[in-house]
Symmetry: C2
Subunit: 187 residues, 2 copies
DNA sequence: CCTACCGATCGGTAGG
DNA sequence: CCTACCGATCGGTAGG
């Protein structure tokens, strides 16, 4: 069972996804939830509170995934595979919140810098693993910057692809995506 | 020399990029342009007019590129290379407007369906070329849907990468990106 | 959780 | 290109 707060947030992020954060009003959300606008404030602090908690929750999932994976007894290449798998899972299980990540983070207020920092950390560690996989001879010599950017762009947009291809089996998707993103750069 | 209208639009899309379309007010734009808000309306019809003309202009560039390239006497693989090159050029020469494409098209009003249609056409033709390159034996057997999605995701986000790597030589970038996106799937 | 409401701000127009 | 302004709507609060 979801708390009322969780219900409100779930509905709100669905609307943020469709219309954008700024264009979605508290009145819109209230109507969809089925209460008066003023009543929302018994469950959430502000409109910003909804965006902030949604985006930071996703950021924390990515951070946790990275922390888990880097601590594993695996090769860098296997860690990259695992990270891709984690991103697929996070995306599918939080599709609406994840869809806000590329575009709506600009509307974060006090937590904006924290969010950016978290994203930069993730990218830096991803880049490090890619370099390590090259050094170990598992990936061929490549432009680390550009390859990181390319892989993360695909994963960042996965939500939109998955929304149009919900039928895909999860294991197939993981395998297809890993192959697509990593196979081509294997040594 | 830019017309006043072009100057206003250039400033406006820069602000749309930074704060988003909805959160940018006509007063914000007027201040930056250096006139009173009401005066803007001597050059543009409405706030929506700015967004619409910017996004449709970019959409037309993509459409034109696709039309040009498909008419060339080249293999499907070479056409894909050319399309990637065109996208790089369009991105670099219109970096602010291009940055609006992934996120701000949702705020289009009357022209939204036209915009979506244009994007779908482009994707369909890209997919077709990818399939043709596979059939001709220039690319290995691959998931056409997923590969199209992956390549176009990277290109769609190129503006953000380029903004942080403005020093890159254009030819180098084209070569690096083509290699990154196509080399891995070559037969 | 609702009624009632507030100050601020929005896109845009009239008229010169 | 500006002054003056309008109706609509916003996020949020007071008080019960």
């Amino acid at each position: 069972m979801l708390t009322k707060r969780e219900q409100i947030i779930a509905i709100a992020i669905k609307m943020f996804r469709k219309r954008g954060y700024v264009a979605t009003t508290m009145r819109d959300i209230a109507r969809e939830v089925g209460m008066e606008p003023a009543s929302l404030y018994n469950h959430i602090k502000s409109k910003q509170d909804i965006l902030e908690s949604s985006l930071l929750e996703i950021a924390d999932m990515y951070t946790l995934s990275m922390k888990n994976v880097t601590g594993m007894d695996k090769t860098a290449y296997e860690k990259l595979e695992q990270l891709i798998g984690d991103q697929i899972n996070i995306t599918i299980q939080n599709i609406d919140a994840v869809s806000l990540v590329p575009s709506e983070w600009i509307h974060l207020e006090v937590s904006k810098s924290k969010f950016i920092e978290s994203r930069n950390d993730y990218e830096a560690q991803f880049k490090f693993l890619l370099q390590e996989a090259v050094n170990k001879g598992h990936l061929r010599e490549l432009d680390i910057e550009l390859t990181t950017f390319s892989i993360l762009s695909t994963l960042r947009y996965l939500f939109s692809w998955y929304s149009r291809n919900k039928d895909k089996n999860l294991d197939d998707l993981h395998q297809a995506l890993t192959k697509n993103l990593l196979e081509g750069i294997k040594k």
